[in-house]
Symmetry: C2
Subunit: 218 residues, 2 copies
């Protein structure tokens, strides 16, 4: 895949802007486990994933991690280029969860283009709004729902009742047990799946990392 095909708003840029991007973008291949970006001081550039998987997370002083979001094929990460906006003031780490091929757009080049191009600025707006929404969701879960804990407890209890790690249960049924909405449960289960705790398939929730689920309860 060429950069021009992978970059969503390519056709909405002028040919001069396209040239500047084309001449500055760098293709990188990193292996699983590589830390690509670490903290706000580090203005690495915008990442556009060609193939593979990246994870953005925050790190406590004691080394605990919490996943903020994941990036898959054709996803773009702007927090690795936080210097393009002076108002981004938090530390995030971005690491490769799988062997990953990506393009890196230098921050300075994008900042310049974004200052003159409404499509380039609005593209960043949409990405930021979507990450912002992810973080608001996390915040709400942690603040009052403790839904992660409740879903984890429920799954572990069911597994011990069924005496197996495969639960035959719809998200709808799980939600009704917990007195919440199906959407909330589905999103949480997908989060668990991303974290490698469960595996989802039609009508089945399979527990694949019991210890990690148990750790959520503490």
């Amino acid at each position: 895949m060429e950069f021009a095909d992978g970059f969503p708003i390519w056709d909405r840029l002028t040919s001069d802007q396209q040239n500047r991007l084309h001449n500055s973008v760098v293709s990188r291949t990193v292996s699983k486990g590589t830390v690509l970006h670490n903290g706000s001081a580090d203005c690495t550039g915008l990442f556009l994933v060609k193939s593979g998987q990246l994870r953005a997370y925050i790190l406590s002083e004691e080394g605990r991690e919490i996943t903020i979001y994941r990036l898959f094929d054709r996803d773009m990460c702007l927090l690795s280029a936080s210097c393009i906006m002076r108002s981004i003031q938090f530390e995030i780490v971005i690491g490769a969860e799988k062997d990953t091929e990506l393009w890196v757009i230098p921050s300075g080049v994008y900042k310049e283009i974004m200052e003159e191009s409404a499509p380039a600025a609005n593209f960043i707006n949409e990405i930021m709004a979507s990450r912002f929404s992810e973080v608001m969701w996390l915040l709400e879960q942690i603040l009052w729902r403790s839904m992660d804990r409740r879903v984890a407890s429920f799954l572990l209890e069911e597994a011990s009742i069924e005496n197996g790690s495969c639960l035959h249960m719809t998200h709808e049924a799980l939600a009704s047990h917990l007195g919440t909405h199906r959407e909330v449960v589905t999103r949480m289960l997908r989060y668990f799946q991303g974290e490698g705790m469960v595996k989802l398939s039609r009508g089945v929730i399979e527990i694949i990392d019991e210890e990690k689920l148990k750790a959520l309860q503490s």
Copy 2:
């Protein structure tokens, strides 16, 4: 104050864009306690505060509130116009904490301008990045620092030792007691001040709502 003077990027718009804004913007005066916006379905428009104070908060099912940010003179709120970006998908409430004068820019008008104007889009970018940073800060505090609890406990303990509600203590000293950085403590104390729990002046932290501080410890 005229809208043209209050709107930060007025001079960077074309006269046609200025006209469209000028002809659509509505001036409103609301009294303390008014709820101006409620949830993502409600696409009220962009708020620009002329004078007064607004508060943005999220609400749990049980009615608990947590403040996300506050808006003062000349601050702008974009989450009240979440429909200008399809990726904003969370519910926020915006209420007046004081009698407030504000301008409301209709969402449709701003969306149109932002699609054609890089300065208008980048302005939204900066506001969103700054709110995003506030939320990340809150998330980190809640997740692992429990710094709100720790600062509250420390203040209450000191007050009981000193037998008074005025603590003569620098933020630096407080930070060193808690094994953290001065910036963290200052930001938390300002948050407490915003919530009406303490009043800050040079070298003095005055506790003005002991009950509210105690509630943080539970």
